[in-house]
Subunit: 421 residues, 2 copies
Amino acid sequence: MAKKNAFYAQSGGVTAVINASACGLIETARKNRDKIGKVYAGRNGIIGALTEELIDTSKESTRAIASLRHTPGGAFGSCRYKLKSIEESRAEYERLIEVFKAHNIGYFFYNGGGDSQDTAHKVSQISDAMGYPITCIGIPKTVDNDLPITDNCPGFGSVAKYVAVSIREAAFDVASMAKTSTKIFVLEVMGRHAGWIAAAGGLAAEKEGDAPHIILFPEIVFNEEKFLNRVKRSVKKYGYCAIVVSEGVKNRDGKFLAEAGGTDAFGHAQLGGVAPYLAELIKERLDYKYHWAVADYLQRAARHIASKSDVEQAYALGKAAIEMALQGKNAVMPAIIRTSNKPYRWKIGEAALADVANVEKMMPRDYISRNGFEITAACREYLLPLIKGEDYPPYKNGLPQYVTLKNIAVPKKLQKGFKVL
Amino acid sequence: MAKKNAFYAQSGGVTAVINASACGLIETARKNRDKIGKVYAGRNGIIGALTEELIDTSKESTRAIASLRHTPGGAFGSCRYKLKSIEESRAEYERLIEVFKAHNIGYFFYNGGGDSQDTAHKVSQISDAMGYPITCIGIPKTVDNDLPITDNCPGFGSVAKYVAVSIREAAFDVASMAKTSTKIFVLEVMGRHAGWIAAAGGLAAEKEGDAPHIILFPEIVFNEEKFLNRVKRSVKKYGYCAIVVSEGVKNRDGKFLAEAGGTDAFGHAQLGGVAPYLAELIKERLDYKYHWAVADYLQRAARHIASKSDVEQAYALGKAAIEMALQGKNAVMPAIIRTSNKPYRWKIGEAALADVANVEKMMPRDYISRNGFEITAACREYLLPLIKGEDYPPYKNGLPQYVTLKNIAVPKKLQKGFKVL
């Protein structure tokens, strides 16, 4: 039988290192040209498979592919698109098979978070349900760090590093200004459901008095009085107060604080911005001058301050995906297994997609201090290795040199189009 | 006559490199122990002089002082406090002399922006007006880049680099997501009066289609229709639109856009956040999904991505301040003189404080494109050298190692206190 081509796609919110996984995968496939054909990337994730918009990665130079290792974002485009079950959405799966057949695709690699692993799992069921042989491997990726089994998720370590570095730096600033000006700094970070990213801010606090003085987690119901007391205490004791807040913090009615705001210029309920909300609350109640920042995409795109562990793991997982496929494995996801904390050691293990799909790993309650405003020693021990090491991209003219691929389309072979959007 | 001690203070908003100037100054003073006594730093700027809260920098180790070169914020504390004229505020100047006399201070070094150079200039007039001999040297610092005579201001180059790197990275992210999700990204940056920082974002756009696609400058009155048309055009042409907006952008009534918003949760006019305002405007009118970020202090504290030119110049200016003082110069500010663009070369020149005080350097109109949304080639030529080179701080456990000085107080010699706040 002729060797089969591979399909690779990026899915969901992108990260500073998802392209490092693409790099590991494509480089490893190229080293195994005798066993695996071309790697076709989906333009904009799985949508590219459905619409037959495939990118021929073999047209990219060795150097361009190597540059993916240090390029943020998703080089082939990503998407937020979840496949329903085979029963509910048979037409989509039939279309996938049609496209795979037309392009001799025998491997399906899907690089994403929880929803994407669920999609990968469903695609893996095509073999049985629809009689099309496909080797299906998920590759973990999510800044939310919420996939089960894997010790951590590629993308998270770099956001964690960005947040810890940023709150440390901003705190040096506000500490300088506090005597006559700004006393409060609030940094809003991602994390709708779990406080992993906010927790990472806590790594900056290495000794008594270090920022952040307060972390607000989505896991802990916001208590205004306790919060304000702690702000006041921090200002009294240290002269200022630096706060990291997760966008997902909720009040006791289960509403996002960010939505407890007023109305915007268009008369809508004010969207987003738990940081400005808290800053104004502090001003209103304690009359301290404030500054606030919302990092948003900057945090997950910040390849310039990526964690070296994170880059290495992202690459290793892409590489492992090809190796597993060539070993005949199917319906699995390579995972990070931590084998030692001090020194930090890890290896690649394996998770069944069935065990990964639709399972969300929450932050253990014992990672948050009893008062609800700090991380514990256990949390620090878990997080610290994930931000270790720097992996700077190359610079030219003062700017990081990121690659934009040529992304040359594979000629379409099917007559019919397919509407997904 | 016994050698005199020096007073050094940091003033106004701090930067990623103001401590590099402190480092240059203290290290150079230490090399000239035969001519200059101790360097006393003002705790929280000039306030430290008024309240006799002096810090004895001679108690800091060589290593700690060297670490200032890579530490953001103001190591001795800064302040927003402007001295009035000698006529208006005689008591303050008399107090300064009293403190200087008590501590044998013959040199006054003031590290700050426009207001601070004005203060330095006024202090330099003590000699004549009040008969106290004092050598007075200003050291430029401001992220706003608005001091005259000096080609650029330390602190600006590093913010510029941060903004250019950040918009480039975020644009890689949004470009990946644009097909099915976010099409708009708005990054709000500092600059109430001048668009220097927003302009720096333009450095990220090296070729057609590169982000940022739109820059909004405080120098250009906001035109909603022209702006929205350009957003639409960018999305049509490139699939997405990345915007850098200065916090100081105003509408035709001269109001900050940030204030044209609605009301906050406390019923106040919504403060800050021109980024969310624009994002909502785009959503309302064009129905594109958006993300926005407000960098705030992160941008001026981001020592981890400081510009090497900026660090070198900040250090050189601190060093030059001591050298000028020892050469008997007075009432001057060392300044950056650009001697060549390609290759970029600069040297230290000299500006009279009288010529610096109260003069604001605006961005030349020909640095902004005719359409008002981009920078010109002339602007790029001016800005590019300022972000050149990287100067990474040392890291430990994944985090930059910034120094916190011991800041040991000089024992007070005066009976009387002085109330400034």
